[in-house]
């Protein structure tokens, strides 16, 4: 790299940041690209461009930038964070979940594991929900196929029985009236079977089942959400790690007893975490309502997009 290029790249990056702050993402992206041409070894240039591309919804570009940034710097929380969002947007929830979990893990390892952790917890839940949605869609499709197949079998059975009756009538083995009656009977029988089958499928549909409340012991007393990474305090109460840390930063006391409580006194509650995971696996979908409308996108990610 010719001398001075690093400096030039830095200048271009700073200009890009100004545009980014003003919401001029196209200009920002262009300037970051120029910076990368000057210095392709700086992982931060790639994450900055990824963030601009995220705003422009250029998902593939985001993914490329994040992967290159991670190549240059392994423990790259921001890159994994942007990557997860892009992967979620291109409907790869499995990959997105892995990226989000990696980002969360990196985040909890850093010194200021705080408000970012809360954002990442929300993202992890969102990925899980997307994953569940896809599974659910497949399940409905498979189920519909199975129902169609079974109905078809019943119909074939019925038709061959009818054919048999008609044959006997032709051959004179059965009277015409007797044949008519028998056909009518078989028809009713067949219709009843189809009905029963449909009822059975409808009953097994979770949409017809009562939604279960998330039990209180799985719910974080601060956000009132089901927990994803519960930690236990000295008095035995558990809270979501990210939100409890938010509170401890302001006031290093136990939320219930007000006894002094330090962040490094928290311990993960592994059994409870597993219980939460299991509950979500079984009752997913409706447990986390991460509707996009609820969270204002810009403010939510704002503190992470410091460039």
């Amino acid at each position: 790299m010719p001398p001075g290029n690093e400096y030039a790249a830095e200048q271009l990056k700073n200009q890009g940041n100004v545009h980014f702050k003003n919401g001029e993402y196209e200009q920002a992206e262009a300037l970051y690209s120029q910076a990368i041409q000057k210095n392709s070894k700086n992982p931060l240039l790639f994450t900055n461009r990824a963030n601009a591309r995220l705003k422009l919804e250029k998902w593939d570009g985001v993914i490329d930038d994040c992967l290159r940034s991670i190549e240059l710097m392994k423990d790259n929380m921001k890159a994994y964070f942007y990557l997860a969002q892009a992967q979620l947007s291109v409907h790869h929830p499995n990959e997105a979940l892995t990226s989000a979990l990696t980002a969360y893990e990196l985040c909890t390892k850093t010194a200021q594991q705080t408000s970012n952790a809360a954002t990442l917890t929300a993202l992890v839940l969102k990925c899980k929900k997307a994953k569940w949605d896809i599974r659910e869609r497949d399940r409905i499709r498979r189920r519909a196929d199975l129902l169609a197949e079974l109905e078809q079998k019943l119909e074939l059975d019925y038709k061959s029985t009818i054919d048999g009756i008609e044959e006997s009538v032709e051959k004179g083995e059965k009277g015409r009236i007797e044949g008519q009656e028998e056909k009518q009977e078989r028809k009713l029988e067949w219709e009843k079977k189809v009905n029963d089958l449909r009822t059975a499928f409808a009953l097994s549909d979770p949409e017809h089942l009562q939604k279960r409340e998330v039990p209180d012991y799985l719910v974080d007393g601060i956000t009132f959400e089901i927990m994803h990474d519960p930690v236990v305090t000295r008095n035995g109460r558990s809270y979501e790690r990210a939100t409890l840390i938010e509170h401890l930063k302001r006031s290093p006391t136990d939320p219930l007893t007000r006894e002094p409580l330090m962040i490094d006194q928290l311990r993960p509650n592994i059994a409870l975490k597993e219980a939460c995971t299991e509950f979500m696996e079984q009752n997913s979908g409706w447990v986390y309502d991460c509707e996009d409308g609820e969270n204002d996108h810009d403010t939510r990610w704002a503190h992470l997009s410091s460039v």
Partner: protein
């Protein structure tokens, strides 16, 4: 960050099952709610009256305490209490920066205020009420009260 979600959940939990004497008046958004409270036992100081509370939430609720004050309307007076100024500002450790804990919620604040009134027997305002009401320009949460008095 999670204020709106948390408030949404609080609201749906409160729907239909609130302790006696507590009512939601207005909770249309997640920045300001109005609640009515009554003292349910027969404390003569508060008998037959209803008081209106205004809750203002920041986007950091429940990490940050909400700002809670009594508001006066034609049929909603400000209750007499040695810790309640005549402009509705309440001096209660639970609502102060230091005393707040994120496990509290709108309902528990209302219950605390109810019991604060229930146990009071003095028809008094805090010392220096007149001056405070006239000259205070600070928002309640920025005032640092000294919680000197644990008797009431």
């Amino acid at each position: 960050m999670f204020a709106s979600k948390r408030l949404q959940k609080e609201l749906s939990k409160m729907q239909g099952k609130l302790p006696p004497g507590i009512e939601v008046v207005k909770a249309e958004d997640f920045s300001e709610w109005l609640m009515d409270i009554k003292v349910v036992d027969s404390n003569p100081l508060y008998a037959g009256e209803t008081y209106r509370l205004k809750f203002a939430f920041s986007s950091n609720y429940p990490i940050e305490a909400p700002e809670v004050v009594f508001v006066q309307t034609t049929d909603r007076p400000i209750p007499w209490h040695p810790h309640i100024y005549s402009n509705g500002i309440i001096c209660l450790d639970l609502l102060d920066r230091q005393g707040w804990s994120p496990v509290h919620n709108v309902e528990s604040i209302c219950v605390s205020l109810q019991s604060m009134l229930t146990s009071n027997t003095k028809k008094e305002r805090p010392p220096g009420d007149e001056n405070f009401v006239r000259y205070n320009t600070q928002r309640p949460r920025d005032i640092s009260f000294v919680f000197h008095d644990n008797q009431v």
